[in-house]
């Protein structure tokens, strides 16, 4: 037993040896992308598959090693490294990092190619590369009939590289590179079948919507930089002590690593709370600089709200969720990887990464939670009425992301992170299942035209069922149930300072969402797999997919089941009691946040683990939803086929089907006006006022004056002489006046 633990606690490659090669994890997929993209055409299908998959596989192995290294505790010595922003004794444990030097520096600002892997990003590394690999494998079969395969794999590799950059970055700017990189890749992949302009438009919509988020992200970054500067000017020794740092070290850190490094921001967060004493606290007004007058707390809140907008763009939350459903235009593996498992969770990752700063501002947290809750419910309701299997899954993704945001917003970071992971598994599985269904049914996506597939596509059916149970929690011993419940439990018992009502509100919403999720997911499952095969089906008989596709399904389904163990309270909690495995696992990353929350008293974080009663209560809600669905689609509707549907029902259904007309609303209040404004400005201001009136007008007037003057030249010598005479007269008169005066 000890042998085993010892084995797991010693990394095969010691951290200090491994860390310099962290960059390879990004480089491999990038290389793959380059090769596939440039030479793919000549390489041929098989080679492209080989290159792409092996690139990801390599990245996966490396990630595994990296992950292993982060938990290395060979000989009881936990892996650790000095914190560049902290005092000498201050170390970062359970993390490995490497700094590849300056990316760019100007003025007193700098950004480094700094990579950091700790437990938080480690988990994501594994998800990205692992799930990514499975999906690559899946795609080799799924895209077998497409000529653009080389583009596809190039883009896919590119995406993975960007996503890895996002999670491994140790500073905001580098993270932003990944942040936009994944957006770019998803733009390319959504519009992969560009000949269908609707799909291409969907890609653009995704990119531009994301850009709206990035706009907020950028501004937030700049404000953060300003705040760091202000803090640096105003803070005194006690502040730095409270943060476990010293002015000298802190400034050195900033000059070496740049102001927006996460470790540095942590220190800032640790120094800001009132409890720490010192010259700077949340209530302190900033003295000089562009921000002068605002308090640190206020600025922090607005920064976090801006980040929320940014995250909403990437993670499809209100008000920017609209792009995700359209993004289903892309190939299904893409939807699985990008729009379910990885990219869309970037927002959640961002907040976990900056949890220490986030907990400084209850307002922001409350907003995040509420936004999450509303998005989640809205999406769930829309999902009720969708008939396109991918659309349903898309909305369910939005809904699940909303749940994660609720968790983040209420300070249950570990649970949110865990749900991120489990969701990655079961949602990927669901999407791939859907893909497999489409693949086997001539690309039919309308669940009304499927049905009865459980006989024909056994593996797909089984995995789909497992994942459905996982997401709904109808069968409680499933990862989804536990992770979701962990969030709701935390949401229920955590309290935001001054905003206690939020937790209740969000909790109630959560219960409704549970039921709703159970309902629409069961609906999809029932309509797709059970019952009789629909008469409108494209193919008389569906066929099961090849192993490339089913193997990933099985693995993912298994993962979707097994990972519930992480939520079990097996680990000893420091200071007595037990805590869930995952919380314990993430604690090195999240400790600063807890400290800040404790000191600043912004969030009261409850550490109790749910009792069986809680579990039962949550389960009941899931059963409720599932039961309703079962009743409706097994009994109710089949029984009254042919009977007219009541008007109100149809109205409701239509509204839901049309996504509550949100897209139309945006079109009407946002896009149209901007286009109109542009048109007016161009026609009126630019073309008419500036160019015609002012510019050409000047020329015109000049010419006309010339024409007028020219009329004086009558050709009559005597007239000329007369004018001369008059001029002389005038001159003489002037002269005489001069004399007399």
């Amino acid at each position: 037993m000890d042998g085993i633990t010892e084995f797991f606690r010693t990394a095969p490659i010691p951290p200090e040896v491994f860390s310099p090669s962290l960059g390879l994890i990004i480089l491999l997929p990038l290389l793959g992308a380059f090769v596939c993209g440039v030479f793919g055409k000549w390489l041929g299908r098989a080679n492209v598959h080989l290159v792409a998959c092996s690139a990801i596989a390599g990245a996966f192995v490396l990630s595994l090693l990296a992950f292993w290294a982060t938990s290395d505790a060979a000989g009881g010595r936990v892996v650790s490294m000095p914190n560049p922003f902290g005092i000498e004794r201050d170390t970062i444990r359970y993390a490995i990092a490497h700094d590849y030097g300056t990316w760019f520096a100007a003025g007193d600002f700098r950004v480094n190619f700094g990579l950091l892997v700790d437990h938080l990003s480690g988990i994501l590394l594994l998800i990205i590369t692992g799930v990514g690999f499975l999906i690559h494998l899946y795609s080799t079969s799924y895209m077998e009939h497409d000529d653009g395969y080389w583009r596809f794999f190039a883009y896919l590799n590119l995406f993975v590289a960007a996503m890895l950059t996002l999670v491994m970055a140790d500073n905001l700017v580098l993270l932003f590179v990944g942040w936009e990189g994944v957006g770019m890749a998803s733009y390319l992949l959504i519009g992969f079948w560009y000949t269908d302009s609707a799909k291409a438009w969907a890609g653009r919509k995704a990119f531009v919507t994301n850009r709206i988020g990035d706009f907020a992200f950028l501004i937030a970054t700049f404000l953060l930089i300003l705040t760091v500067g202000a803090f640096n000017r105003q803070a005194d020794a006690r502040d730095f002590n409270a943060a476990g740092s010293s002015r000298a070290r802190y400034e050195q850190g900033i000059s070496q690593k740049g102001p927006v490094t996460f470790k540095g921001l942590e220190k800032l967060a640790l120094a800001l709370p009132e409890g720490t004493g010192g010259a700077v606290s949340l209530a302190t007004p900033i003295e000089s600089g562009p921000l002068s007058g605002y308090t640190f707390g206020g600025v922090m809140t607005s920064i976090m709200l801006l980040f929320l907008l940014g995250a909403a763009g990437k993670s499809a939350q209100l008000p920017l969720y609209v792009w995700l459903p359209d993004a289903m235009a892309g190939p299904t593996p893409v939807s699985a990887l990008i729009h379910a498992a990885t990219m869309v969770t970037a927002g959640v990752y961002l907040f976990c990464r900056m949890s220490a700063l986030l907990v400084l501002s209850p307002t922001a947290m409350a907003t995040i939670a509420i936004v999450g809750a509303l998005t989640s419910l809205l999406a769930a309701l829309i999902a009720f009425a969708q008939d396109d299997i991918k659309k349903v899954l898309a909305y369910s993704t939005v809904s699940q992301l909303g749940i994660m945001f609720m968790g983040v917003g209420m300070g249950v970071f570990w649970a949110a992170e865990m749900h991120l992971m489990t969701h990655a598994f079961f949602k990927a599985c669901l999407f791939l299942g859907a893909g497999s269904v489409m693949h086997g049914n001539g690309d039919e996506t309308d669940i009304k035209k499927l049905g009865g597939l459980w006989k024909e596509m056994k593996v797909t059916h089984a995995t789909f069922l497992v994942s459905t149970l996982a997401i709904t929690g109808i069968f409680p011993i499933m990862s989804g149930f536990f992770s979701k419940d962990a969030i709701f439990h935390g949401v229920h018992h955590n309290h935001l300072h001054g905003l206690e009502w939020v937790s209740t509100f969000v909790y109630v919403m959560g219960l409704l969402i549970t039921a709703a999720t159970a309902f629409y997911m069961s609906r999809v499952y029932l309509l797709t797999f059970t019952g009789k095969r629909s008469p409108e089906a494209k193919l008389a008989h569906a066929h099961e997919s090849a192993w490339h596709m089913t193997l990933p399904l099985v693995i993912l389904a298994f993962l979707a089941f097994i990972t519930f163990t992480y939520a079990l309270p097996l680990m000893p909690r420091t200071g007595g009691g037990t805590q869930p495995v995952f919380e314990n696992f993430l604690s090195p990353v999240l400790r600063p946040a807890e400290t800040v929350a404790r000191v600043a008293e912004t969030v009261h974080i409850d550490t109790s683990s749910p009792s069986l009663g809680d579990y039962a209560f949550a389960w009941m809600w899931a059963l409720l939803g599932g039961g309703a669905a079962a009743f409706a689609y097994l009994k109710f509707f089949p029984s009254r086929v042919g009977q007219p549907v009541p008007v109100f029902a149809r109205a409701v259904r239509r509204t839901a089907q049309n996504k509550f007309y949100v897209d139309e609303l945006y079109e009407f209040i946002l896009i149209r006006p901007v286009k109109f404004l542009a048109f007016i400005l161009f026609r009126v201001v630019d073309a008419l006022v500036i160019d015609t009136v002012l510019v050409r007008g000047t020329a015109y007037v000049t010419e006309k004056v010339g024409l007028g003057l020219r009329r004086i030249q009558t050709g009559d010598a005597q007239a000329y002489a007369a004018i001369m005479a008059l001029a002389i007269l005038g001159g003489a008169v002037y002269a005489l006046v001069q004399v007399l005066s």
Partner: protein
Amino acid sequence: MNLPNITLAEFLPMLPAIIMVVAASVLLLSEVFLSATASRGYQAVLTVVAAVASGAVAVGLMFEPPREVFLGFGVLDPFSSFLTLVVSVGLGLAALSAVGFLRRRGAERGEFYALMLFASAGMSLLAMSSEFITIFVNIEVLSIATYALTAYLRRGTRPSEAGFKYFILGAFSSAILLYGTALLYGATGTTKLNDMAGPLQQALSTSPALVYVGAVLIAAGFAFKVAAVPFHMWTPDVYEGAPTPVTALMSAGVKAAAFASLVRVFITVGKGMDPKLPLMLFATLALLTMIAGNLMAIPQRNVKRMLAYSSIAHAGYLLLGVAALFVAAPGEHFRLLSASSLSGGTPLDVARSDALRGILYYLLAYTFSATGAFAMVSALERREDEEKGTAWDLERFAGLAQRRPGWAFAMAAFMLSLGGIPPTVGFMSKLLIFQAAIDVGLVGLTVVAVLSSAAGAYYYLRVVVYMFMHPIPEGAQPLERNWGTEAALVIATVAVVLLGILPGHVTDWLAQAGTLFGQ
């Protein structure tokens, strides 16, 4: 009574003029012995040789010490010598461009070149004269010659009409000038500029009206010769009607000589009298001339006429330089022409000699650019079209770049130079003038000048547009080449570009030429 003994050395300063007169006489005499059909190629050559010779002598004279000659009826100073140089340049180029022009019309006669030479002699002497009667006589010498030249081509109505207008108005204006002279004579009792300073002082106290009115009349007389608005009215008509080479000579030589005399007279007369008067006088003239000249040129499609208006505009810039001469002390304030104390304390005499320098350089630059441009016009025009009035239409230039790239390039250089675009001499000369004006603080006027020249760029560019960007009109007759014209074009182009890039030596001379006898 004892006759003043005039040594031969006294004639040295007149040498350029003498050369020209001799050449003219030779031409006239030789013409007597020639049959109507004899080849007359030598005449142009002789003229050019005379021009070159006199120009060379002038350069030599430029380094002679400034002094009075002929008992103060004339002075020799670098200023006058430089002007002689300018005149001979104009003469040479005009003569060269005349070769082909006359041949195409079968109007080659010795008289033509002789008259040109006489006119030039008059100009060169005018630049030297420092006594009113001498000035008047010389003005008449050059005017009468040009009257004749204007009406030289007897076919068609235009030459005679032009001649008539020029003659009537010219005589009118010179009468006015003369009357002004008489008044000044009455006030001071002398007609020699160098003796005038003293008596003028008293005259200003005893009978100021005479002096001022006299000054105004004289100014008007000169304003006519330099074609300053509103005394410019004759210019377009005469320039259009006159044979193009003559127009070239007029625009270059006459203007130069007139400016020379104008400056010389008013430097002296202006002394002692309230500085506001000449300043106001010339500033106003400059203002009107710059604006009107450029604006009226814009709608012209007739290139020859356009160049006439442009020559008016350039007179305006020169007048700006002249006005700069008469800013007695920086710090005077007028509305438009704010003579403010921008200057970081340049001594006035330095500023003044800078202004003179500017004027001279400008004259040289303009001579090259304008004569070149007119040579081009003369090469393109055809007698048949004159009555239709299309002989000088912009269409003539259409597609020239494809037909004769060399010509097009030359013309483009002239146009850019006239427009004052670097790296041509036109820019450098404008720069010198503006510099002088700003130095004494005529900033307002300079801004006007600058803006009007921007407006001017438009019509110069239009020629370029036609040459480079318009297709060759169908049915365009072949352009016959002629050594004279091409020589003129080459010389002018080289000068325009070189003086623009390396103004070096010329400006070294100018450093000298900026000195005016008795200034």
